[in-house]
Symmetry: C2
Subunit: 225 residues, 2 copies
């Protein structure tokens, strides 16, 4: 079996597919909760998620944590590693994880010979930047209800684009602690908001999956236009 077959076959706007030009490679694995990368340590390549979820975050000296993004299968873990030799963020596995690494050098030389790969990579970087800009706006100017509704909708859209959602249901491995750290809230308040969403018939979270029960209303609550 050729690797990264999963990476290659993934579709969707953010899916990273190299085509068959790269050599076979073995994948790496990590268990749920494991720290994949610690901020400011050296990296020599770019990782792509093959299976499972991860997230990037910044931790302050006093323990405050901000989650910057959730990484799904097909996502590039650290786009900036192509240029930088260390990352400014840490990365942790949210579920059991399978991912593979592309060395800086092979990727850069590939991009020189294959303009398509360059364009694709550039596009991923731009999307990442645009999503981060949106997150800044969420945290700076939106209410708790809006932030959480938008997080749910964004995850649903990203999973849907990869064919990883069944209608209105999709896998949801996040703990409320993760939602809190991604939205700049406390776990207690996240619990209250999720509870109110549940009572209002907007969403339902059972086990490790989430079902949207009233998409229109959830969109309305998110105040997105």
């Amino acid at each position: 079996m050729r690797e990264p077959s999963i990476c290659r076959t993934l579709a969707g706007k953010s899916g990273f597919s190299f085509g068959p030009t790269l050599p076979d490679r073995s994948h790496q694995t990590a268990h749920a909760g494991q720290l994949i990368y610690r901020a400011n340590e050296p990296v020599d390549g770019v990782d792509v998620i093959c299976e499972g979820w991860a997230f990037t975050f910044i931790m302050l000296f006093d323990g405050r944590r901000q989650i910057l993004s959730f990484l799904l299968p097909g996502d590039v873990v650290s786009t900036t590693a192509l240029v930088r030799d260390r990352l400014s963020v840490s990365v942790q596995a949210l579920t059991d994880l399978r991912y593979c690494r592309f060395s800086k050098l092979e990727l850069r030389s590939l991009m020189e010979t294959e303009p398509k790969v360059f364009d694709q990579y550039a596009s991923i970087c731009v999307e990442e930047k645009e999503e981060t800009d949106q997150l800044v706006t969420d945290l700076g100017r939106r209410t708790a209800d809006e932030r959480i509704a938008r997080l749910v909708l964004a995850l649903m859209a990203r999973l849907g684009a990869r064919g990883m959602a069944n209608g209105e249901s999709f896998p949801f491995p996040l703990r409320q602690r993760h939602i809190a750290d991604a939205t700049g809230l406390t776990p207690v308040h996240v619990s209250r908001v999720i509870g109110s969403f549940r009572n209002a018939g907007l969403i339902e979270i059972t086990g490790r999956s989430l079902t949207v029960r009233n998409l229109d209303e959830l969109r309305r609550v998110s105040s997105t236009r």
Copy 2:
């Protein structure tokens, strides 16, 4: 006179200098407060600030505004325009402005023949991403005092790197409304925080310039480590 001479001669980690390889070009100008670019309208090139300040922002349908970055002389206005044909943010002149545009095509072909330019551009994009990640953390996990202290320190550092600060003093064309929209606060609360900083002997804002009176203490208040 060759243009963009100002762009070319600017130093500092974020200063964008093309070298003498690009043809002369005339610059464009805008008055303070003028909207340079409206989100989602087409763009055909990348702008670089030659003189004056600008800022990028996202505006919600109901008037809430989030400022994403302040742009100083030498800064690239819209790095993503190299790849995208429209921006997801708007750009407004903070002071009277002079800037020049590089077409997508000339820039891309230049990057192909001059790897140095590519590296420099990539580096600017990465710095931009890293600063935005920091901003997310500021808005999600830091207090009002910390956010404002960090904004002042960041501007001082950026201006210092360009030789645009005289010791502890530097030009400061922001209104409190801009500080508020950049830090996710209200103008009223910004006034209170700035007032307390002033009373504590940390900073002083007179006319259009800011002086840091107690750098160590301002750093301590910012809780940066």
